[in-house]
């Protein structure tokens, strides 16, 4: 994951070799603004995920790039060429559709060959490329089958082969794994990731599943109500969410509402020194950043507090606690498997883990 590492050193760094550039794109359907001035550039060879709730505009953005919708304002450029004025069939972009959209009247082989046939590719070349593509997704033996005879995972592979056989510069994937069951989804995630790295094709992946986004992406672009909330690597966005929304959407977190006065941050019963101007503040504190304190003192960079256990949820590899710090302040704490807990305990977290976020 070398590229991810490199990026995480420069979180706000824009890739120099941008393949796709989205410049101030807006889209409204009637009176509804679905996208509000989105600007984003995607580097060649990157795996970028558009993450957002349903209705956040992520699929619309994808459809604008594919050419199924026209932007109301703004431009889309790819490799120095204006993209948004071209009809879909003239764009070097291919899409893996949410429900695969395999042609039911064509065999697997003819589905994969479709893009080459309509572009009048020589028959011999079609045969070779289709075979190669089917091999790539391990579907050679199903070449003669009808799509309706395949399982969801197999259809997924065919959809992938059908898109990739055209050697697009950019592959758009619209929640391609959402229709698969959990185990298969995990497996396909791995295959997608390694396929992308092998082929070096730029992937623009749409999902509402933040875990999936983190597992796959070089960078994540989080959309909220048609605007970009944050664009960063998975590690960056998890460790340093810019906003309360991001912090809550990606992973679990405790949002602490409080204020800073005289270089002291106060959130309910929790207080710690913080060198910042006076004012209201919100902090995101991940449940796993809080530890059970076995005893002894605390370091200067840590905050220690006493809380009573309200609820304990066993999760196999870890346990999730809900603790009452008093004065109506509750926190979620994730600790390694410990065994049943009750009564009051001491907890501790590092000041650096309380990340200040925007409203």
């Amino acid at each position: 994951m070398s590229s991810v590492g490199a990026n995480s050193l420069h979180p706000s760094h824009t890739p120099t070799t941008a393949l796709l550039e989205i410049r101030g794109v807006s889209k409204c359907f009637g009176r509804r603004d679905v996208l509000k001035g989105v600007s984003l550039s995607i580097a060649s060879g990157e795996f970028l995920t558009l993450l957002g709730e349903s209705g956040s505009g992520k699929t619309t953005l994808l459809r604008l790039i594919a050419g199924f919708e026209q932007p109301s304002a703004g431009e889309i450029w790819m490799g120095g060429e204006r993209l948004d004025t071209l009809p879909p069939y003239k764009r070097r972009v291919n899409t893996v559709f949410q429900h695969y959209a395999l042609f039911p009247h064509l065999s697997v082989r003819d589905n994969v060959a479709y893009g080459l046939r309509v572009k009048n590719t020589p028959a011999a070349e079609i045969g070779d490329r289709v075979d190669q593509s089917l091999r790539m997704v391990k579907m050679e033996e199903f070449a003669a089958s009808r799509p309706s005879k395949l399982s969801g995972g197999q259809q997924q592979r065919v959809a992938l082969a059908r898109a990739l056989v055209n050697r697009p510069q950019l592959l758009l994937l619209d929640e391609p794994l959402s229709a698969l069951d959990a185990n298969l989804r995990k497996q396909m995630q791995g295959e997608l990731k390694s396929l992308q790295r092998e082929l070096g094709i730029t992937f623009l992946f749409v999902t509402h599943d933040q875990e999936e986004a983190m597992a796959l992406s070089d960078r994540i672009a989080l959309l909220r109500d048609g605007a970009l909330e944050q664009v960063a690597t998975a590690r960056e966005i998890y460790a340093h969410p810019a906003t309360a929304y991001t912090a809550q959407f990606i992973g679990q977190t405790n949002l602490l509402q409080g204020e800073i006065r005289g270089s002291i941050a106060t959130c309910g019963v929790l207080r710690w020194p913080l060198d910042a101007p006076d004012g209201l503040a919100i902090f995101s504190l991940r449940p796993e950043a809080i530890r059970l304190c076995a005893g002894g003192g605390r370091q200067a960079t840590e905050v220690k507090f006493r809380a009573s256990i309200r609820q304990q949820l066993y999760g196999g590899s870890s346990e999730l606690l809900e603790v009452d710090c008093g004065a109506g302040q509750f926190l979620r704490v994730r600790i390694p498997v410990h065994g049943p807990l009750s009564g009051e305990h001491d907890f501790v977290f590092s000041i650096a883990d309380a990340v200040r976020v925007q409203e």
Partner: protein, 273 residues
Amino acid sequence: MTATSPTRRAPLLTLYAACVFAFVYLPIIVLILYSFNRDGVGGFPPRHFTFDWYRQLFADGPIWDSVLNSLFVAAGSVVLSLTLGLLAALALDRADFPGKALFRRLVLLPLILPGIITGLSLLMFAVFAHVQLSLFTVFLGHGTALISVATTELFAGLQKMDRAQEEASLDLGATPWQTFWRVTLPNLKLSMIAAGLLIFTLSMDEIAVTFFLIGRDNTLPLEIWGRLRRGITPEINAVSTLIFAVSVALIIIWYRVRTRGLGAEAQELIETP
């Protein structure tokens, strides 16, 4: 996502579609226009607007007798074919019996078969059974042939219905009889209305089967048919215009009913969290 593909302009196709619409509507418009033409059918352009033909029509006793006859036959056919069609749809949906496949085809046959075949078969049957031809035989013919319409419509309604509703009703202690009246039938209300309206219209308009089963009293289409044989008069334009108006009114009623039904369904969807 709810977004649909943008509609791309296709001027040639639009023009073609407009021509097809013109082809479909032109005869109907001409017909209506000339029902108000004093100089009768034909002659261009129509001039001298008049209501005379309508006046003549309203004073025409035999026409109104035939309208009454048609209404009786149509109302009877609706009751007969809806009842038997409902049972047939239920049987096809949930019972298994020998010859079910044959039964399904047989019930639907009058829908796709040319009317003359069904009409003649029933005529032979009437003669065979020594039944005098009359409005009653016409009613039997319509009612039997139109079971196909009721069955198709109600079977589709049953297929769309959530079977779990009936299971829930039985689970809550309702007898099958109660379940039928309180759950199954209310669920089919829209299909029943749709089928009823369709059967009514088709029966009012039926001529191929009626042709062979009619006795001394004419239905409206046969009365018109008889007059057509004698020659064209704008009175027929007038009665056709009225039939057209009634058909359109029926369609509007049907859409009101349907959209109200859909409105209620949408309401439920909104109210369910």
